[in-house]
């Protein structure tokens, strides 16, 4: 009974918070800064408390897994298809949900003072609570569809928070870029969910991963099935966690207010991809090839992040790449099968990086203190008094790092642009086909017209 109540509170409290924040805005009421801050604090601490009690009860009763079913919404027995809304509390999700709630709570308290008198105060809090609901949902999701719902909420609120300062061009452009990459990842996620449903009839994570509790493995999937689903999920995770080749968006996402950068890109959002892989960890064991691919992606990203991070001159980008570096190591750990290590790594890294990001504006003071402590000043170029002309390799490496490997150019010019061109071509084809069917005689002439039109658009 305690488990049921607590589990319910964990999910209901953020939902209520979203409603209480969003509805007055929708109806045109003005909620004061103070009450918004208090409300957030109250409900977030309630949810955190509930999650902690749940953890303690389960530890005391030696229960390692608890599922909370909230209705079977679709059930098609003939087609062997059902959709249930189910929450799964186990050794993976409870720590992660506590981490999410705690960091959200701290950052909510921070933001309530940091954004004082800002015109977008209420908007920020709305997006922030939607984000939190998404985080909680995707952490405790028991079915892949539930997880997708949370995953979408996180994606939507993140993209809007990147574009928080909507009257400048850069935040909006970068928000759009984040959104595009998220959509791409979402597509892969959705495909994976479909394939899973096709293979197992349902989307239950516990069934799919075998009936034994996480992290022990007994996945009922075949090797090739695991590979297909796993690859799709890897693409989803790579998009969300900014692994190569999607890394370009991470530093660009530092457009929002400092607390949102801290929570999303330092702490929670960027780990969500890794969490997904961790969640389906048992499945990865089924396919060694999949494991190699995951480790490979992790390694490439790690090298990339280490190289690029070294040349960043602004504090937020430097922290973004430092985050990416740790996330890629976490991915390697997951690929290797060290799931507890990965979990501890996520928790530790999220806490440390959020603090660092929140303190990012202190950089100048910290730097001065550091110099004072050392009793000397240090700056670029001081180390070598003799000027040595830089080697070709150093120049190449620096240029590669400064241009961030041109990953965005690759995506833009090699993937996005051909993609758009292809669909334009399809569109043209369709037009001429329709015209042909509707009995237009001068098909060729119109084809030319359409070509001009699509060029112009």
């Amino acid at each position: 009974m305690i488990e049921y109540t607590c589990g319910l509170i964990v999910i209901v409290a953020p939902t209520v918070l979203v409603l209480l924040t969003g509805l007055p805005m929708l109806l045109g009421f003005n909620v004061s800064e103070r009450s918004l801050g208090r409300l957030t604090q109250l409900l977030v601490s309630t949810a955190t408390l509930a999650a902690t009690i749940l953890l303690i009860t389960m530890l005391l009763s030696d229960q390692v897994q608890y599922t909370l079913e909230l209705g079977r919404w679709v059930d098609l027995p003939i087609e062997h298809f059902h959709f249930t809304f189910k929450l799964l509390f186990d050794r993976l999700s409870i720590p992660f949900v506590i981490l999410s709630l705690m960091l959200c709570g701290v950052i909510g308290a921070f933001a309530s003072r940091y954004l004082h008198r800002d015109a977008g105060y209420a908007r920020f809090f709305l997006l922030y609570v939607v984000f939190m609901l998404g985080m909680v949902l995707s952490s405790v999701a028991g079915t892949i569809e539930t997880m997708f719902l949370g995953w979408e909420l996180v994606g939507l609120s993140s993209a809007l928070l990147v574009a928080f300062f909507q009257n400048r061009v850069n935040p909006v452009a970068n928000g759009l870029r984040v959104w595009t990459i998220y959509r791409f990842a979402d597509g892969a996620f959705l495909l994976a969910a479909l394939v899973l449903h096709h293979l197992t009839g349902g989307g239950e994570l516990d069934v799919m991963m075998g009936l034994r509790p996480w992290p022990e493995s007994a996945c009922p999937l075949q090797q090739y099935q695991a590979l297909v689903v796993g690859l799709l999920l890897l693409v989803a995770a790579a998009g969300k966690s900014a692994l190569v080749p999607f890394s370009g968006w991470l530093p660009r996402a530092m457009e929002g207010p400092t607390p949102s950068s801290a929570i999303f890109y330092g702490a929670l959002s960027v780990h969500l991809g890794a969490y997904l892989l961790l969640r389906v960890g048992p499945m990865l064991d089924q396919s060694p090839a999949l494991q190699y691919i995951i480790i490979g992606t992790g390694c490439v990203t790690a090298i990339y992040a280490a190289l690029v991070g070294r040349v960043q001159t602004d504090v937020k980008s430097a922290l973004a790449f430092a985050s990416l570096l740790q996330v890629s190591i976490i991915v390697i750990e997951i690929g290797w099968g060290f799931r507890y290590v990965a979990l501890v790594h996520i928790i530790g890294h999220a806490s440390m990086r959020s603090l660092q990001l929140l303190r990012a504006p202190s950089l100048l003071r910290d730097h001065r203190k550091l110099e004072d402590n050392l009793g000397r000043t240090f700056h670029a170029g001081q180390k070598s008094l003799v000027v040595v002309p830089p080697t070709a390799f150093r120049l190449w490496r620096y240029r590669f790092a400064m241009e961030r490997g041109n990953l965005d150019t690759i995506l833009d010019e090699w993937i996005a642009s051909p993609f758009v061109k292809m669909f334009r071509w399809f569109d043209k084809l369709e037009h001429s086909w329709i015209k042909f069917l509707s009995g237009h005689r001068r098909v060729n002439a119109h084809l030319a017209d359409d070509a001009n039109e699509s060029e112009a658009s």
Binding site: V106, R168, R310, V315, F321, Q326, L355, P361, R365, R376
Partner: protein, 1051 residues
């Protein structure tokens, strides 16, 4: 035809003067953002800032109108402003309808629709503006207008009126024309709304009139003398020279070039200069470069083969971009201004190398421009980038400002609204001739958006100036108040933040005297504190010190000092290792796994319990901080030349160049005392109070420190001056100069923390025992004043309750400065508006609401040639003007002149902040620092004769520029006759107060400051604070004449 190389380099130097003058953000410079243009008149410059900078010159119409409603701008001031500037033209009747002055006034007083075309379309389609009168027209006026209109319609049968009737009734004009009898027409009109009939007719007549006016030949605008600055305002160069892809590349490369040591690996070849380094990096083959700059490598090769210098490359690029020589200066300045933050910083690294760890050689700005233009030519080769045809540009050169152009429909609608407000009847309007219509439209074009806002701004400034002058005039008609035997004298910085502290001190104890002096106390020095790694310049940013001073632990504690320094070094290396490792590969992994979860502890405590955490940190820090008992190394022998300490090869430190000679110290001591007029009647304790501020997690921390110490804490200067004045040798020499300091007088250096209101005193261990009692009393007095000051400051913070107690107020301000999430640790000089230079006793007791810089100066002690005034003003005027204009411009356009909101700020290269992931460097003050600021130019009130000031303006070019070109307003208070004069249009005009109350009764009065400000957050009128029993106590709530009582109800 190409531009010669000399012309190009001259254009670059000229353009550099337009760039923001912001050095590294840790040494925040309070300077006029338009300092390079001070040689031109303020009004002239404001006309063109829109097109040259793309920034606003004044607030938005709407903001001024809001001030009008709240009574911060009054109609009579608007009228005065307009009549002064129109002169004899003001009574001309425009188009035979209304005097010009009334017409202009009406456009200011009434919220007409000056908005965009689309807005107008909406107004016409969706609102009842063509059906009902504007709310300004009263019911009786309405009726008489309608009556008259009906009569006129019937009598004249004017075509427009008939057409309106036809439209209203959906019949043809012929049909209406047939209804010739009076009665029939009357009935027809009465059957529909007469109001609609009236307005529709009016609208029809005006639209026709505008058409007539437009068909007439245009008037040729008279050729004004175009200033040099105006020539730079080519309206679309700014947008043409910015390209997001070029900007992105320039930002990346320039931050790497400027980096003062943040990135783990530095830019290779940075020591070869900007241009060479760029060529080195980008002439290497690179895979996958974006399409637009794939040919960059080839171009760089060509440049290398041709051996082009940066200057020659600029020449070639300008030619390729088809920039014609007459416009090239404008093009060059636009190219630099389109990335002004970085360009300005590059310029600072070469022109103020002493402010940077890593500076650049001369000519770097030129190289920056060369690279930018080269990239622009590449971007231009793509079809989406076009330079407009040169012919159009040269036409645009003469266009004025960033005025919104309005089309005929908008013009008609404004006239339509004016016609209602001013009650121009359709009858009168229909009688206008073509020239009169033209006169009307010309008038509206003339008094455009820019002019209206300018008039509003002038009236706003006038209102404040009037209030200030009136208060000063009334107060100074009384005799000066000065304690006969002062028990304590406190010398503070001129800062507006110290005004309240000084007032509270005087309020608590009537025997206290206070003085104001520029916060570096006349001691310009490079200073290194006991635990500091490096020297900082403690003097106004416009000066360069020539002396070095260090703080050292006392001899008996040297051993402890060394041990602690060692401990600090150990901690420092550990910190440095941690910082580097946490961002690295293995270290980061290990650390985040093992130590990471522990980070929640400081994070939680920092955010949830800021003050406790800060106290714990401080306690912990005490174990390794330098010993608390230190001395300044202040003196050097007269033989040694001033030099920084150097470390010899054997490890010993050679510091014989550190400090001042006895002669220099005497000079500084004498000068400081004579400047403020403290030459006799010394109190037993004279406190010299520098100031600092503390806050955390704030890149703009330096902006809260002392502006006269270049954004550093000013305590060391106060301490140094106190040490000099306590030196018996100095006193003996001063005695010889006729400046006798009694033996009993003790000078004490101190530091006031303007954020936390903590007071710190230096060298107390040197205090003679007999003095301790007096000092203890003084320090208690200061503590009480600090509490009251904290309370007064709290009324400005929305997060502090208005009913807060003194004690809680102190806690509140202390919490603010320790709060990681606090973006407004204090409001700095955010409320500055005036600057008084004169004797404190003349205005003692005036509540100036922290709005005034206060500099002490005693004209009666000055030489006939007013040497003292000359040297005071040469520092005080540019410093205060710089602070004021930086605040004002940042408040007028927070994202243009200021650095926008703090929330997304991102520190880069350790020199500045960007917005978010990548943007231009943001200079100026953040929005959170200026959100309570009322943008007005500073009003100097100087206690001196007008002749003196006129003479000084002739001698000192800076003063001349600032006052004659009206970058600040000026008024004088005659030390003998008590008359006040305003400086206007190059001459002094006697100030005549608009009050019949010669006595203090003309001023609102309260017993205590607190009674006056309690419960109110907005700016207050100046009041007289006096605890005298027979004074007429005035209730602050009812007597406030113009602050919170709405004078006009918003419509």
């Amino acid at each position: 035809m190409r531009l010669s190389l000399e012309e190009i380099s001259k254009a670059v130097t000229d353009a550099a003067a337009l760039l923001p003058r912001q050095g590294p953000i840790t040494k925040f410079a309070f300077l006029n953002p338009l300092q390079g243009l001070e040689h031109e008149h303020y009004d002239e410059v404001m006309k063109y800032v829109g097109t040259v900078y793309g920034n606003e010159a004044y607030l938005d119409d709407r903001r001024y109108r809001e001030k009008l409603w709240r009574g911060r701008i009054v109609e009579s001031d608007l009228r005065e402003v307009l009549s002064e500037e129109l002169g004899p033209l003001s009574s001309d009747v425009v188009a035979g309808l209304t005097p010009r002055l009334e017409l202009r006034l009406a456009t200011l007083l009434h919220p007409l629709h000056f908005g965009e075309r689309r807005e107008l379309d909406w107004v016409l389609a969706e609102t009842e503006s063509l059906k009902h009168f504007r709310p300004e027209v009263s019911e009786t006026q309405k009726n008489s207008l309608l009556e008259e209109h009906l009569r006129w319609t019937i009598e004249s049968k004017h075509a427009a009126a008939l057409a309106t009737i036809a439209e209203q009734h959906g019949c043809t004009l012929e049909r209406i024309n047939e209804l010739l009898t009076k009665h029939e027409l009357e009935q027809l009109v009465a059957s529909r709304s007469r109001e609609t009939f009236y307005l529709s007719t009016l609208w029809r007549i005006i639209r026709n009139g505008i058409d007539i006016a437009e068909n007439c030949p245009k008037r040729v605008p008279t050729e004004n003398q175009v200033s040099k600055f105006a020539e730079l305002s080519v309206s679309d160069f700014l947008s043409m020279t910015s390209d997001s892809r070029v900007d992105a590349l320039m930002i990346q490369f320039t931050s790497a070039f400027l980096d003062q040591g943040y990135a783990s690996s530095s830019l290779p070849g940075v020591e070869q200069g900007y241009w060479n380094c760029f060529r080195l990096l980008y002439s290497r083959p690179a895979l996958l470069a974006p399409k637009w700059r794939r040919s960059l490598r080839k171009d760089l090769k060509v440049i290398e083969q041709a051996g082009l210098t940066p200057l020659e490359s600029i020449q070639v690029s300008l030619e390729e971009l088809q920039v014609r020589p007459p416009e090239s200066a404008a093009f060059i300045s636009a190219t630099l201004l389109s990335l002004r933050g970085y360009a300005g910083m590059i310029w600072q690294t070469e022109s103020r190398a002493d402010l940077f760890r890593k500076s650049s050689p001369p000519g770097t700005l030129l190289e920056f421009l060369a690279v930018r233009l080269l990239l622009l030519t590449l971007a231009r080769k793509r079809k989406d980038w076009t330079l407009n045809s040169p012919a159009k540009n040269s036409a645009a050169v003469c266009s004025q400002g960033n005025r919104r152009t309005i089309d005929s429909e908008q013009l008609a609608f404004i006239l339509f609204e004016l016609a209602q407000v001013l009650q121009w009847s359709p009858k009168a309007m229909s009688a206008l001739s073509a020239t009169q219509w033209q006169e009307l439209t010309h008038e509206l074009h003339e008094f455009d958006d820019h002019q209206r806002r300018r008039a509003f701004h002038a009236a706003f400034e006038r209102q404040l100036a009037k209030m200030a002058l009136r208060s000063f005039w009334i107060r100074t008609q009384e005799l000066p108040v000065r304690p006969k035997t002062p028990t304590l004298q406190v010398v503070c910085c001129i800062d507006a933040r110290e005004e309240s502290l000084r007032r509270h001190l005087e309020e608590i104890d009537a025997s206290v005297e206070t003085y104001g002096i520029a916060g570096f106390f006349g001691v310009a020095m490079y200073y290194r504190g006991a635990g500091d790694a490096d020297f900082s310049a403690l003097c106004p940013i416009i000066m360069k010190p020539r002396h070095w001073v260090t703080e050292e632990a006392v001899y008996s504690l040297e051993q402890a000092d060394r041990t602690r320094a060692k401990a600090r070094r150990f901690l420092g290396s550990a910190q440095r290792g941690f910082q580097a490792q946490s961002r690295g590969l293995l270290g980061g992994a290990i650390m985040s796994t093992l130590v990471g979860p522990l980070a929640t502890i400081p994070m939680l405590s920092r955010i949830m319990l800021p003050r406790t955490t800060a106290m714990m940190n401080q306690t912990a820090r005490q174990f390794i901080a330098p010993p608390t008992i230190t001395r300044l190394h202040l003196e050097r022998t007269s033989e040694a030349t001033a030099a920084p300490p150097t470390v010899n090869e054997d490890g010993t430190v050679d510091d014989c160049g550190v400090g001042f000679t006895l002669e220099e110290m005497t000079q500084m001591a004498e000068r400081a005392l004579r400047d403020i007029g403290l030459t006799s009647n010394f109190a037993p304790i004279v406190l010299l109070l520098g100031h600092c501020s503390s806050c955390i997690n704030n890149p703009h921390e330096s902006a809260y420190h002392c502006g006269a110490c270049a954004g550093n804490a000013g305590g060391p200067n106060a301490r140094a001056l106190a040490m000099m004045l306590n030196d018996v040798r100095v006193r003996r020499k001063l005695d010889g100069m006729g400046l006798t300091i009694p033996e009993e007088t003790q000078f004490i250096g101190g530091q006031h923390n303007t954020a936390t209101e903590e007071m710190m005193f230096f060298d107390l261990e040197l205090l003679p025992t007999r003095k301790i009692k007096q000092v203890r009393a003084a320090s208690q007095l200061l503590a009480e004043a600090a509490r009251r000051n904290a309370h007064e400051r709290c009324r400005r913070f929305e997060s502090a309750d208005l009913r807060i107690s003194n004690k809680d107020a102190l806690l509140h301000v202390q919490n603010r400065s320790e709060d990681l999430a606090q973006t407004r640790p204090e409001y700095g000089n955010g409320s500055n508006a005036i600057c008084f230079v004169g004797r404190r006793q003349r205005i003692r007791g005036l509540f100036l609401d922290r709005r005034s810089f206060l500099m002490s100066y005693d004209a009666t002690q000055d030489s006939p040639e007013s040497h003292i005034l000359a040297r005071i003003l040469s520092a005080v005027v540019p410093v205060c003007e710089g602070i004021n204009l930086l605040y004002s411009f940042s408040a007028i356009d927070p994202s243009g002149w200021g650095s926008g909101t703090k929330l997304p700020h991102n520190i880069t290269s350790l020199v500045g902040v960007m917005d978010g992931a990548a943007s231009d460097l943001r200079t100026g003050l953040p929005w959170q620092g200026v959100d309570i600021h009322e943008p007005v130019r500073l009003l100097f009130i100087i206690e001196a004769t007008t002749q003196d000031l006129l003479k000084l303006m002739e001698e000192n070019q800076t003063l001349k520029n600032i006052f004659r070109n009206h970058w600040s307003h000026l008024a004088t208070l005659d030390p003998k006759t008590n008359q006040m004069y305003r400086f206007s249009k190059d001459k002094f005009v006697l100030y005549e107060p608009e009050t019949n109350e010669p006595r203090l009764r003309g001023l609102p009065r309260a017993a205590k400051s607190r009674d006056w400000y309690q419960g109110r957050r907005e700016h207050l009128t100046f009041a007289f604070i006096a605890d005298s029993p027979n004074a007429d106590a005035i209730d602050p709530k009812t007597s406030s004449s113009n602050t919170n009582a709405p004078a006009r109800v918003p419509t």
